[in-house]
Protein backbone atom coordinates (compact mmCIF):
# COMPACT_ATOMS: atom_id res chain seq x y z
CA UNK A 1 0.00 0.00 0.00
CA UNK A 2 0.89 3.62 -0.42
CA UNK A 3 -0.93 6.48 1.24
CA UNK A 4 -1.43 9.90 -0.32
CA UNK A 5 -0.39 12.55 2.19
CA UNK A 6 -0.77 15.63 0.02
CA UNK A 7 -2.14 16.12 -3.48
CA UNK A 8 -3.53 18.82 -5.77
CA UNK A 9 -6.79 18.63 -7.68
CA UNK A 10 -5.63 16.94 -10.89
CA UNK A 11 -3.38 14.04 -9.96
CA UNK A 12 -4.65 10.74 -11.27
CA UNK A 13 -3.86 7.07 -11.79
CA UNK A 14 -2.92 6.44 -15.43
CA UNK A 15 -1.52 3.63 -17.52
CA UNK A 16 -1.08 3.74 -21.29
CA UNK A 17 -4.81 4.14 -21.81
CA UNK A 18 -8.02 2.47 -22.78
CA UNK A 19 -8.09 2.24 -26.56
CA UNK A 20 -10.72 0.17 -28.28
CA UNK A 21 -13.84 1.75 -26.78
CA UNK A 22 -14.02 4.96 -28.76
CA UNK A 23 -16.82 3.41 -30.79
CA UNK A 24 -19.01 3.53 -27.67
CA UNK A 25 -17.85 7.02 -26.80
CA UNK A 26 -15.16 6.16 -24.25
CA UNK A 27 -11.98 8.25 -24.41
CA UNK A 28 -8.71 6.35 -24.35
CA UNK A 29 -7.27 8.45 -21.49
CA UNK A 30 -3.79 7.31 -20.39
CA UNK A 31 -0.63 9.18 -19.44
CA UNK A 32 -0.17 12.59 -21.07
CA UNK A 33 3.53 11.70 -21.37
CA UNK A 34 3.33 8.00 -22.23
CA UNK A 35 7.06 7.82 -22.89
CA UNK A 36 7.87 8.87 -19.31
CA UNK A 37 5.28 6.43 -17.96
CA UNK A 38 6.77 3.56 -20.01
CA UNK A 39 10.32 4.32 -18.93
CA UNK A 40 9.32 4.61 -15.27
CA UNK A 41 7.68 1.22 -15.39
CA UNK A 42 10.64 -0.39 -17.13
CA UNK A 43 13.02 1.03 -14.51
CA UNK A 44 11.13 -0.64 -11.66
CA UNK A 45 10.73 -3.89 -13.59
CA UNK A 46 7.05 -3.52 -14.49
CA UNK A 47 5.15 -4.14 -17.64
CA UNK A 48 5.22 -0.87 -19.63
CA UNK A 49 1.47 -0.55 -19.28
CA UNK A 50 1.38 -0.81 -15.46
CA UNK A 51 -0.61 1.88 -13.66
CA UNK A 52 1.37 4.80 -12.27
CA UNK A 53 0.53 8.15 -10.71
CA UNK A 54 0.44 11.18 -12.98
CA UNK A 55 1.25 14.25 -10.92
CA UNK A 56 0.41 17.60 -12.46
CA UNK A 57 -0.41 19.61 -9.36
CA UNK A 58 2.37 20.03 -6.84
CA UNK A 59 3.50 19.58 -4.15
CA UNK A 60 2.62 15.91 -3.92
CA UNK A 61 3.53 13.56 -1.09
CA UNK A 62 2.97 9.89 -0.44
CA UNK A 63 4.18 7.41 2.13
CA UNK A 64 5.22 3.83 1.52
CA UNK A 65 3.60 1.31 3.84
CA UNK A 66 6.12 -1.36 2.96
CA UNK A 67 9.50 -1.64 1.29
CA UNK A 68 9.15 -1.08 -2.46
CA UNK A 69 10.90 0.09 -5.60
CA UNK A 70 9.81 3.32 -7.25
CA UNK A 71 10.90 5.78 -9.91
CA UNK A 72 9.98 9.36 -10.75
CA UNK A 73 10.07 10.24 -14.43
CA UNK A 74 8.77 13.01 -16.69
CA UNK A 75 9.02 16.58 -15.47
CA UNK A 76 11.83 17.06 -12.93
CA UNK A 77 9.87 17.58 -9.74
CA UNK A 78 12.98 17.54 -7.56
CA UNK A 79 11.94 14.36 -5.73
CA UNK A 80 12.88 13.96 -2.07
CA UNK A 81 12.70 10.81 0.05
CA UNK A 82 12.45 11.65 3.75
CA UNK A 83 14.02 14.99 2.90
CA UNK A 84 16.97 13.63 0.91
CA UNK A 85 17.21 14.69 -2.69
CA UNK A 86 16.83 11.94 -5.32
CA UNK A 87 17.59 11.62 -8.99
CA UNK A 88 14.69 11.60 -11.43
CA UNK A 89 14.68 8.92 -14.15
CA UNK A 90 16.14 6.54 -11.60
CA UNK A 91 14.82 3.46 -9.78
CA UNK A 92 15.14 3.68 -5.99
CA UNK A 93 14.06 1.58 -3.02
CA UNK A 94 11.93 3.08 -0.25
CA UNK A 95 11.64 1.55 3.20
CA UNK A 96 8.33 1.18 4.99
CA UNK A 97 7.25 4.50 6.45
CA UNK A 98 9.38 6.69 4.19
CA UNK A 99 7.81 9.71 2.52
CA UNK A 100 8.29 10.74 -1.12
CA UNK A 101 7.78 14.37 -1.97
CA UNK A 102 7.51 15.93 -5.43
CA UNK A 103 7.85 19.68 -5.84
CA UNK A 104 6.78 22.10 -8.56
CA UNK A 105 8.95 21.47 -11.63
CA UNK A 106 10.75 24.43 -13.13
CA UNK A 107 10.05 23.46 -16.73
CA UNK A 108 7.63 20.84 -18.05
CA UNK A 109 4.42 19.93 -16.30
CA UNK A 110 3.85 16.26 -15.44
CA UNK A 111 5.78 13.74 -13.32
CA UNK A 112 5.08 10.03 -13.06
CA UNK A 113 5.55 7.91 -9.95
CA UNK A 114 5.97 4.26 -10.94
CA UNK A 115 5.94 1.61 -8.23
CA UNK A 116 7.49 -1.84 -8.39
CA UNK A 117 4.58 -4.19 -9.06
CA UNK A 118 2.37 -1.37 -10.33
CA UNK A 119 -0.78 0.01 -8.74
CA UNK A 120 -3.07 -2.93 -8.07
CA UNK A 121 -6.51 -1.54 -8.78
CA UNK A 122 -9.44 -2.88 -10.81
CA UNK A 123 -9.21 -2.94 -14.57
CA UNK A 124 -12.20 -1.26 -16.21
CA UNK A 125 -12.60 -1.84 -19.94
CA UNK A 126 -9.04 -3.07 -20.29
CA UNK A 127 -7.30 -0.27 -18.41
CA UNK A 128 -6.57 1.15 -14.97
CA UNK A 129 -6.55 4.72 -16.27
CA UNK A 130 -8.80 7.25 -14.60
CA UNK A 131 -11.53 8.52 -16.88
CA UNK A 132 -12.28 11.86 -15.26
CA UNK A 133 -15.08 12.69 -17.68
CA UNK A 134 -16.73 9.31 -17.29
CA UNK A 135 -16.05 9.07 -13.54
CA UNK A 136 -14.69 5.53 -13.67
CA UNK A 137 -11.35 3.72 -13.71
CA UNK A 138 -8.25 4.53 -11.67
CA UNK A 139 -8.97 5.69 -8.14
CA UNK A 140 -12.78 5.31 -8.26
CA UNK A 141 -12.93 7.58 -11.28
CA UNK A 142 -11.60 10.61 -9.45
CA UNK A 143 -8.32 12.40 -8.76
CA UNK A 144 -6.18 11.38 -5.82
CA UNK A 145 -6.87 13.07 -2.51
CA UNK A 146 -5.17 13.20 0.87
CA UNK A 147 -5.86 10.00 2.78
CA UNK A 148 -6.35 7.77 -0.26
CA UNK A 149 -4.62 4.42 0.09
CA UNK A 150 -3.71 2.46 -3.02
CA UNK A 151 -2.68 -1.18 -3.27
CA UNK A 152 0.58 -1.99 -5.02
CA UNK A 153 1.22 -5.27 -6.81
CA UNK A 154 3.88 -7.78 -5.92
CA UNK A 155 7.36 -6.61 -6.79
CA UNK A 156 9.46 -9.44 -8.22
CA UNK A 157 12.62 -7.50 -9.00
CA UNK A 158 13.20 -5.35 -5.94
CA UNK A 159 15.97 -7.63 -4.68
CA UNK A 160 17.86 -7.01 -7.91
CA UNK A 161 17.99 -3.22 -7.60
CA UNK A 162 21.40 -1.75 -6.76
CA UNK A 163 21.41 0.22 -3.50
CA UNK A 164 22.35 3.58 -5.04
CA UNK A 165 19.58 3.21 -7.62
CA UNK A 166 19.53 2.62 -11.34
CA UNK A 167 19.40 5.71 -13.54
CA UNK A 168 19.06 6.19 -17.26
CA UNK A 169 19.56 9.05 -19.67
CA UNK A 170 16.25 10.81 -20.07
CA UNK A 171 14.56 10.83 -23.48
CA UNK A 172 14.91 14.57 -24.10
CA UNK A 173 18.69 14.06 -24.00
CA UNK A 174 19.00 10.59 -25.48
CA UNK A 175 16.66 11.45 -28.35
CA UNK A 176 17.71 15.01 -29.03
CA UNK A 177 18.46 14.13 -32.66
CA UNK A 178 14.81 13.36 -33.36
CA UNK A 179 13.17 15.82 -30.95
CA UNK A 180 14.48 19.29 -31.75
CA UNK A 181 14.85 21.57 -28.74
CA UNK A 182 12.72 24.71 -28.36
CA UNK A 183 14.06 27.75 -30.22
CA UNK A 184 13.79 30.99 -28.21
CA UNK A 185 11.40 29.18 -25.89
CA UNK A 186 9.10 28.12 -28.74
CA UNK A 187 8.42 24.39 -28.76
CA UNK A 188 8.39 22.83 -32.25
CA UNK A 189 5.50 20.41 -32.75
CA UNK A 190 5.14 18.37 -35.93
CA UNK A 191 1.74 17.88 -37.53
CA UNK A 192 0.09 16.75 -40.74
CA UNK A 193 -2.53 18.83 -42.54
CA UNK A 194 -5.98 17.38 -41.80
CA UNK A 195 -9.28 17.16 -43.69
CA UNK A 196 -10.36 20.80 -43.77
CA UNK A 197 -6.92 22.38 -43.91
CA UNK A 198 -7.44 23.79 -47.39
CA UNK A 199 -10.73 25.43 -46.41
CA UNK A 200 -8.68 27.80 -44.28
CA UNK A 201 -6.94 29.14 -47.40
CA UNK A 202 -4.50 31.87 -46.36
CA UNK A 203 -5.40 31.36 -42.69
CA UNK A 204 -4.20 27.79 -43.15
CA UNK A 205 -0.73 29.18 -43.82
CA UNK A 206 -1.11 31.48 -40.82
CA UNK A 207 -1.69 28.38 -38.73
CA UNK A 208 1.81 27.15 -39.53
CA UNK A 209 3.61 30.46 -39.50
CA UNK A 210 2.44 31.95 -36.21
CA UNK A 211 3.48 31.17 -32.64
CA UNK A 212 0.63 29.85 -30.48
CA UNK A 213 0.33 30.03 -26.73
CA UNK A 214 -1.27 27.32 -24.57
CA UNK A 215 -4.14 29.07 -22.80
CA UNK A 216 -5.27 28.52 -19.23
CA UNK A 217 -8.39 26.78 -20.57
CA UNK A 218 -6.31 23.66 -21.14
CA UNK A 219 -6.44 20.29 -19.47
CA UNK A 220 -6.06 16.57 -20.15
CA UNK A 221 -8.96 16.72 -22.60
CA UNK A 222 -7.55 19.42 -24.79
CA UNK A 223 -5.27 22.41 -25.12
CA UNK A 224 -6.83 25.66 -26.25
CA UNK A 225 -4.35 27.75 -28.20
CA UNK A 226 -4.39 31.51 -28.19
CA UNK A 227 -3.09 33.54 -31.09
CA UNK A 228 -4.36 35.29 -34.20
CA UNK A 229 -7.69 33.54 -34.93
CA UNK A 230 -7.95 31.52 -38.12
CA UNK A 231 -11.25 30.93 -39.90
CA UNK A 232 -12.26 28.82 -42.87
CA UNK A 233 -13.45 30.64 -45.97
CA UNK A 234 -16.92 29.20 -45.49
CA UNK A 235 -18.45 28.71 -42.06
CA UNK A 236 -19.09 25.01 -41.67
CA UNK A 237 -19.75 22.17 -39.30
CA UNK A 238 -18.80 18.63 -40.15
CA UNK A 239 -20.97 15.63 -39.58
CA UNK A 240 -19.87 14.10 -36.30
CA UNK A 241 -16.88 11.84 -36.81
CA UNK A 242 -14.33 10.01 -34.70
CA UNK A 243 -11.38 11.95 -33.36
CA UNK A 244 -8.13 10.93 -31.66
CA UNK A 245 -5.55 12.76 -29.54
CA UNK A 246 -3.53 15.20 -31.60
CA UNK A 247 -6.41 16.42 -33.73
CA UNK A 248 -6.35 20.20 -34.04
CA UNK A 249 -9.91 21.47 -34.38
CA UNK A 250 -10.92 25.05 -35.02
CA UNK A 251 -14.17 26.16 -33.37
CA UNK A 252 -16.00 29.22 -34.73
CA UNK A 253 -13.96 31.59 -32.55
CA UNK A 254 -10.89 30.71 -34.64
CA UNK A 255 -8.58 29.61 -31.83
CA UNK A 256 -7.50 26.00 -32.30
CA UNK A 257 -8.01 23.19 -29.80
CA UNK A 258 -5.60 20.25 -29.68
CA UNK A 259 -7.25 17.09 -28.36
CA UNK A 260 -5.11 15.38 -25.72
CA UNK A 261 -5.23 12.09 -23.74
CA UNK A 262 -8.83 12.50 -22.55
CA UNK A 263 -9.78 13.54 -26.10
CA UNK A 264 -13.39 13.57 -27.06
CA UNK A 265 -14.14 10.51 -29.17
CA UNK A 266 -16.16 12.46 -31.73
CA UNK A 267 -16.25 15.97 -33.04
CA UNK A 268 -17.63 18.19 -35.74
CA UNK A 269 -15.39 21.24 -35.87
CA UNK A 270 -13.23 21.66 -38.95
CA UNK A 271 -9.76 20.15 -38.51
CA UNK A 272 -6.76 22.11 -39.67
CA UNK A 273 -4.06 19.55 -38.73
CA UNK A 274 -3.17 16.54 -36.60
CA UNK A 275 -0.08 16.34 -34.36
CA UNK A 276 2.03 13.30 -35.14
CA UNK A 277 1.67 10.74 -32.38
CA UNK A 278 5.34 10.66 -31.38
CA UNK A 279 5.25 14.39 -30.58
CA UNK A 280 2.24 14.14 -28.28
CA UNK A 281 4.33 13.51 -25.16
CA UNK A 282 6.15 16.78 -25.70
CA UNK A 283 2.84 18.57 -25.92
CA UNK A 284 1.73 16.63 -22.83
CA UNK A 285 4.69 18.14 -20.98
CA UNK A 286 4.13 21.69 -22.25
CA UNK A 287 2.79 24.07 -19.64
CA UNK A 288 -0.01 26.58 -19.68
CA UNK A 289 1.47 29.74 -21.12
CA UNK A 290 4.08 27.86 -23.16
CA UNK A 291 4.58 28.94 -26.76
CA UNK A 292 4.67 26.52 -29.64
CA UNK A 293 4.86 26.45 -33.37
CA UNK A 294 3.64 23.78 -35.76
CA UNK A 295 5.80 22.31 -38.50
CA UNK A 296 4.53 20.27 -41.42
CA UNK A 297 5.59 16.68 -41.13
CA UNK A 298 5.11 13.49 -43.11
CA UNK A 299 4.18 9.91 -42.36
CA UNK A 300 7.77 8.95 -43.24
CA UNK A 301 9.23 11.37 -40.70
CA UNK A 302 6.77 10.17 -38.06
CA UNK A 303 7.82 6.58 -38.69
CA UNK A 304 11.49 7.46 -38.40
CA UNK A 305 10.89 9.17 -35.05
CA UNK A 306 8.72 6.29 -33.80
CA UNK A 307 11.49 3.86 -34.68
CA UNK A 308 14.10 5.93 -32.87
CA UNK A 309 11.87 6.07 -29.78
CA UNK A 310 11.31 2.32 -30.04
CA UNK A 311 15.07 1.69 -30.12
CA UNK A 312 15.61 3.92 -27.09
CA UNK A 313 12.90 2.18 -25.06
CA UNK A 314 14.26 -1.22 -26.02
CA UNK A 315 17.76 -0.13 -25.07
CA UNK A 316 16.55 1.02 -21.63
CA UNK A 317 14.72 -2.26 -21.14
CA UNK A 318 17.67 -4.45 -22.11
CA UNK A 319 20.29 -2.41 -20.30
CA UNK A 320 18.39 -2.11 -17.03
CA UNK A 321 17.73 -5.83 -17.11
CA UNK A 322 21.37 -6.66 -17.81
CA UNK A 323 22.62 -4.40 -15.04
CA UNK A 324 20.20 -5.96 -12.56
CA UNK A 325 21.23 -9.48 -13.58
CA UNK A 326 24.92 -8.63 -13.40
CA UNK A 327 24.55 -7.13 -9.94
CA UNK A 328 22.58 -10.12 -8.78
CA UNK A 329 25.31 -12.42 -10.09
CA UNK A 330 27.96 -10.41 -8.22
CA UNK A 331 25.96 -10.39 -4.99
Amino acid sequence: MIEILESGPFNTVQDLGRPGYRDIGVSASGAMDPLAARIGNILVGNDENAAAIEVQTFPFRLSFERRMAFAVTGADSNPHLDGSELLSWCAHVAEAGQVLELRQPLRLSRSYVSLGGGLDIPVVMGSRSTSLRGGFGGNAGRPLAKGDRLAVGEDLEIAMLPAPGLAIIEPATALRDVFPAPVDGVLPIRALPAGEHDLFARDGEEFWSQTWRISSRSDRTGYCLSGEPITPTTSIEMRSHGVVPGVIQVPPGGEPIVQMSDANTAGGYPKVAGVIECDLWRLGQARIGARLKFFRSTHAEARAVEQAVGRYVEDVRQTSRMVKLALKAMA
Partner: protein, 234 residues
Protein backbone atom coordinates in the same frame (compact mmCIF):
# COMPACT_ATOMS: atom_id res chain seq x y z
CA UNK B 1 -27.72 20.77 -45.52
CA UNK B 2 -29.91 22.67 -43.11
CA UNK B 3 -33.42 22.76 -44.51
CA UNK B 4 -34.66 26.01 -45.98
CA UNK B 5 -37.21 26.34 -43.18
CA UNK B 6 -34.28 27.20 -40.92
CA UNK B 7 -33.63 30.43 -42.77
CA UNK B 8 -31.96 32.01 -39.74
CA UNK B 9 -29.33 29.33 -39.45
CA UNK B 10 -25.90 30.86 -39.72
CA UNK B 11 -23.86 27.79 -40.40
CA UNK B 12 -24.40 24.86 -42.64
CA UNK B 13 -23.41 21.28 -42.03
CA UNK B 14 -21.50 20.27 -45.08
CA UNK B 15 -22.17 17.09 -46.96
CA UNK B 16 -18.91 15.20 -46.90
CA UNK B 17 -18.49 15.24 -50.65
CA UNK B 18 -21.02 15.31 -53.42
CA UNK B 19 -19.87 12.50 -55.66
CA UNK B 20 -17.10 10.39 -54.26
CA UNK B 21 -16.06 9.23 -50.86
CA UNK B 22 -13.25 11.28 -49.39
CA UNK B 23 -10.39 10.07 -47.20
CA UNK B 24 -8.27 12.41 -45.09
CA UNK B 25 -5.58 11.75 -42.51
CA UNK B 26 -5.90 12.68 -38.84
CA UNK B 27 -2.39 12.54 -37.48
CA UNK B 28 -0.32 9.55 -38.48
CA UNK B 29 -2.30 6.36 -37.86
CA UNK B 30 -5.88 7.51 -38.44
CA UNK B 31 -7.79 8.00 -41.66
CA UNK B 32 -11.32 9.36 -41.98
CA UNK B 33 -13.52 8.14 -44.81
CA UNK B 34 -16.53 10.35 -45.46
CA UNK B 35 -19.38 8.97 -47.52
CA UNK B 36 -20.61 11.13 -50.37
CA UNK B 37 -24.10 12.54 -50.65
CA UNK B 38 -26.86 13.25 -48.22
CA UNK B 39 -27.12 12.46 -44.56
CA UNK B 40 -29.34 9.44 -44.80
CA UNK B 41 -29.78 5.85 -43.71
CA UNK B 42 -28.58 4.40 -47.02
CA UNK B 43 -25.15 5.98 -46.57
CA UNK B 44 -25.00 4.89 -42.95
CA UNK B 45 -25.81 1.29 -43.86
CA UNK B 46 -22.82 1.30 -46.17
CA UNK B 47 -20.68 2.76 -43.38
CA UNK B 48 -21.78 -0.13 -41.15
CA UNK B 49 -20.79 -2.53 -43.91
CA UNK B 50 -17.41 -0.82 -44.29
CA UNK B 51 -16.87 -1.09 -40.54
CA UNK B 52 -17.46 -4.82 -40.79
CA UNK B 53 -14.94 -5.12 -43.64
CA UNK B 54 -12.12 -3.20 -41.93
CA UNK B 55 -12.59 -5.19 -38.72
CA UNK B 56 -11.10 -8.08 -40.69
CA UNK B 57 -7.89 -6.21 -41.39
CA UNK B 58 -4.94 -7.49 -39.40
CA UNK B 59 -3.28 -4.10 -39.17
CA UNK B 60 -6.43 -2.41 -37.86
CA UNK B 61 -6.30 -1.13 -34.27
CA UNK B 62 -9.77 0.42 -34.03
CA UNK B 63 -12.54 1.79 -36.16
CA UNK B 64 -15.08 4.38 -35.11
CA UNK B 65 -18.28 4.74 -37.11
CA UNK B 66 -19.47 8.36 -37.22
CA UNK B 67 -22.34 10.02 -39.03
CA UNK B 68 -21.95 8.72 -42.61
CA UNK B 69 -18.23 8.41 -42.00
CA UNK B 70 -15.73 5.97 -40.53
CA UNK B 71 -12.48 6.68 -38.71
CA UNK B 72 -9.97 3.89 -39.20
CA UNK B 73 -7.00 3.67 -36.82
CA UNK B 74 -4.12 1.41 -37.85
CA UNK B 75 -1.80 -0.30 -35.38
CA UNK B 76 1.20 1.44 -36.92
CA UNK B 77 1.85 4.53 -38.95
CA UNK B 78 1.60 3.22 -42.50
CA UNK B 79 4.73 3.26 -44.57
CA UNK B 80 2.75 4.34 -47.61
CA UNK B 81 -0.20 6.53 -46.59
CA UNK B 82 -1.42 6.80 -50.19
CA UNK B 83 -1.79 3.02 -50.33
CA UNK B 84 -3.79 3.10 -47.10
CA UNK B 85 -6.12 5.67 -48.66
CA UNK B 86 -6.57 3.60 -51.82
CA UNK B 87 -7.25 0.48 -49.80
CA UNK B 88 -9.91 2.25 -47.76
CA UNK B 89 -11.58 3.69 -50.85
CA UNK B 90 -11.62 0.25 -52.47
CA UNK B 91 -13.19 -1.26 -49.38
CA UNK B 92 -15.84 1.48 -49.54
CA UNK B 93 -16.55 0.66 -53.19
CA UNK B 94 -16.98 -2.99 -52.23
CA UNK B 95 -19.10 -2.31 -49.17
CA UNK B 96 -22.58 -3.68 -49.75
CA UNK B 97 -25.20 -1.90 -47.73
CA UNK B 98 -26.23 -3.87 -44.66
CA UNK B 99 -28.90 -3.24 -42.11
CA UNK B 100 -28.18 -3.80 -38.46
CA UNK B 101 -31.00 -5.45 -36.62
CA UNK B 102 -31.17 -3.57 -33.38
CA UNK B 103 -33.35 -3.43 -30.34
CA UNK B 104 -35.97 -0.79 -29.61
CA UNK B 105 -35.21 1.61 -26.76
CA UNK B 106 -37.91 3.78 -25.21
CA UNK B 107 -36.73 6.86 -23.36
CA UNK B 108 -39.19 8.72 -21.11
CA UNK B 109 -38.65 12.49 -21.45
CA UNK B 110 -39.66 15.46 -19.39
CA UNK B 111 -40.05 18.06 -22.17
CA UNK B 112 -39.71 21.70 -21.22
CA UNK B 113 -38.97 22.75 -17.65
CA UNK B 114 -35.68 23.92 -16.18
CA UNK B 115 -33.44 21.79 -18.42
CA UNK B 116 -35.07 22.91 -21.70
CA UNK B 117 -32.83 25.95 -21.82
CA UNK B 118 -32.81 26.20 -25.61
CA UNK B 119 -36.45 25.54 -26.37
CA UNK B 120 -37.34 29.27 -26.72
CA UNK B 121 -34.44 29.77 -29.16
CA UNK B 122 -35.56 26.76 -31.18
CA UNK B 123 -39.06 28.20 -31.37
CA UNK B 124 -37.62 31.50 -32.63
CA UNK B 125 -35.45 29.72 -35.17
CA UNK B 126 -38.13 27.38 -36.47
CA UNK B 127 -41.13 29.68 -36.20
CA UNK B 128 -42.97 26.87 -34.38
CA UNK B 129 -44.64 26.94 -31.00
CA UNK B 130 -43.00 25.06 -28.13
CA UNK B 131 -45.87 22.56 -28.17
CA UNK B 132 -45.28 21.85 -31.87
CA UNK B 133 -41.53 21.47 -31.38
CA UNK B 134 -42.10 18.93 -28.62
CA UNK B 135 -44.72 17.05 -30.63
CA UNK B 136 -42.49 16.90 -33.70
CA UNK B 137 -39.59 15.66 -31.58
CA UNK B 138 -41.42 12.85 -29.78
CA UNK B 139 -43.47 11.66 -32.73
CA UNK B 140 -40.47 10.68 -34.80
CA UNK B 141 -38.72 7.32 -34.70
CA UNK B 142 -34.96 7.56 -34.51
CA UNK B 143 -32.13 5.29 -35.49
CA UNK B 144 -28.82 5.06 -33.62
CA UNK B 145 -26.28 5.83 -36.34
CA UNK B 146 -23.19 5.80 -34.17
CA UNK B 147 -21.91 6.28 -30.62
CA UNK B 148 -19.34 8.80 -29.57
CA UNK B 149 -18.45 12.06 -27.88
CA UNK B 150 -19.27 10.72 -24.39
CA UNK B 151 -19.54 7.19 -22.95
CA UNK B 152 -22.69 5.62 -24.36
CA UNK B 153 -23.86 8.73 -26.21
CA UNK B 154 -25.81 7.78 -29.32
CA UNK B 155 -26.12 10.03 -32.35
CA UNK B 156 -29.71 9.68 -33.48
CA UNK B 157 -30.90 10.08 -37.04
CA UNK B 158 -34.46 10.86 -37.98
CA UNK B 159 -34.92 14.40 -36.69
CA UNK B 160 -37.61 16.31 -38.55
CA UNK B 161 -35.94 19.04 -40.64
CA UNK B 162 -38.37 21.60 -39.22
CA UNK B 163 -36.55 21.43 -35.88
CA UNK B 164 -32.94 21.25 -37.05
CA UNK B 165 -30.84 23.67 -35.03
CA UNK B 166 -27.11 24.34 -35.41
CA UNK B 167 -24.72 23.71 -32.56
CA UNK B 168 -23.94 26.76 -30.47
CA UNK B 169 -21.05 29.04 -31.21
CA UNK B 170 -20.37 29.16 -27.47
CA UNK B 171 -21.17 25.85 -25.74
CA UNK B 172 -23.20 25.79 -22.52
CA UNK B 173 -20.59 25.31 -19.83
CA UNK B 174 -22.43 22.92 -17.56
CA UNK B 175 -25.27 21.17 -19.30
CA UNK B 176 -26.74 18.41 -17.13
CA UNK B 177 -26.46 14.71 -17.82
CA UNK B 178 -29.83 13.61 -19.18
CA UNK B 179 -30.60 16.70 -21.25
CA UNK B 180 -32.39 15.80 -24.48
CA UNK B 181 -30.64 17.78 -27.14
CA UNK B 182 -30.57 18.78 -30.80
CA UNK B 183 -27.31 19.41 -32.64
CA UNK B 184 -27.77 20.30 -36.29
CA UNK B 185 -29.77 17.49 -37.86
CA UNK B 186 -29.04 15.12 -34.99
CA UNK B 187 -30.63 14.51 -31.63
CA UNK B 188 -29.49 12.65 -28.51
CA UNK B 189 -29.35 12.52 -24.72
CA UNK B 190 -26.39 14.09 -22.88
CA UNK B 191 -24.47 11.37 -21.02
CA UNK B 192 -22.27 13.60 -18.89
CA UNK B 193 -22.67 16.90 -17.13
CA UNK B 194 -20.32 19.37 -18.74
CA UNK B 195 -19.72 21.68 -21.70
CA UNK B 196 -22.13 20.97 -24.51
CA UNK B 197 -22.75 22.78 -27.78
CA UNK B 198 -26.12 21.17 -28.47
CA UNK B 199 -29.53 22.65 -27.71
CA UNK B 200 -31.54 21.26 -24.82
CA UNK B 201 -35.31 20.85 -25.03
CA UNK B 202 -35.99 18.30 -22.26
CA UNK B 203 -34.63 15.83 -19.76
CA UNK B 204 -34.41 12.03 -19.38
CA UNK B 205 -33.39 10.03 -16.32
CA UNK B 206 -32.80 6.63 -17.96
CA UNK B 207 -29.28 5.31 -17.20
CA UNK B 208 -27.67 4.39 -20.50
CA UNK B 209 -24.06 3.61 -19.58
CA UNK B 210 -22.52 1.28 -16.98
CA UNK B 211 -18.71 1.07 -17.12
CA UNK B 212 -18.46 -2.24 -15.27
CA UNK B 213 -21.07 -4.07 -17.37
CA UNK B 214 -19.76 -6.44 -20.07
CA UNK B 215 -21.76 -4.28 -22.49
CA UNK B 216 -21.32 -0.82 -21.00
CA UNK B 217 -23.41 1.10 -23.54
CA UNK B 218 -27.16 0.54 -23.77
CA UNK B 219 -27.33 1.89 -27.31
CA UNK B 220 -25.70 0.26 -30.29
CA UNK B 221 -25.61 1.29 -33.94
CA UNK B 222 -28.79 0.17 -35.66
CA UNK B 223 -31.01 0.40 -32.57
CA UNK B 224 -34.33 2.21 -32.80
CA UNK B 225 -35.15 4.92 -30.27
CA UNK B 226 -38.51 6.46 -29.31
CA UNK B 227 -38.91 9.36 -26.94
CA UNK B 228 -41.99 9.04 -24.74
CA UNK B 229 -43.29 12.31 -23.31
CA UNK B 230 -43.46 11.48 -19.61
CA UNK B 231 -44.21 15.09 -18.78
CA UNK B 232 -44.60 18.25 -20.81
CA UNK B 233 -43.97 21.47 -18.92
CA UNK B 234 -44.30 24.53 -21.10
Amino acid sequence: MIATTNRHAQREIVPATQNRARVSAIGTRSFLLEAPGDFELAAQRRIWALSRIVKGWEDLAEDIPGMTNLLVIFKETPQDPDAAVVRLLQAWENAQSIDLVGKCIEIPVHYGGEHASDLPALCDLSGLSDREVVRIHHEATYRVFALGSAPGFGYLHGLDPRIYMPRKTMPSLKMAKGCVTIGGMQTGVAMLTGPNGWNSIGFATLEMFDPISPNPAMMAPGDTVRFLPARIEL
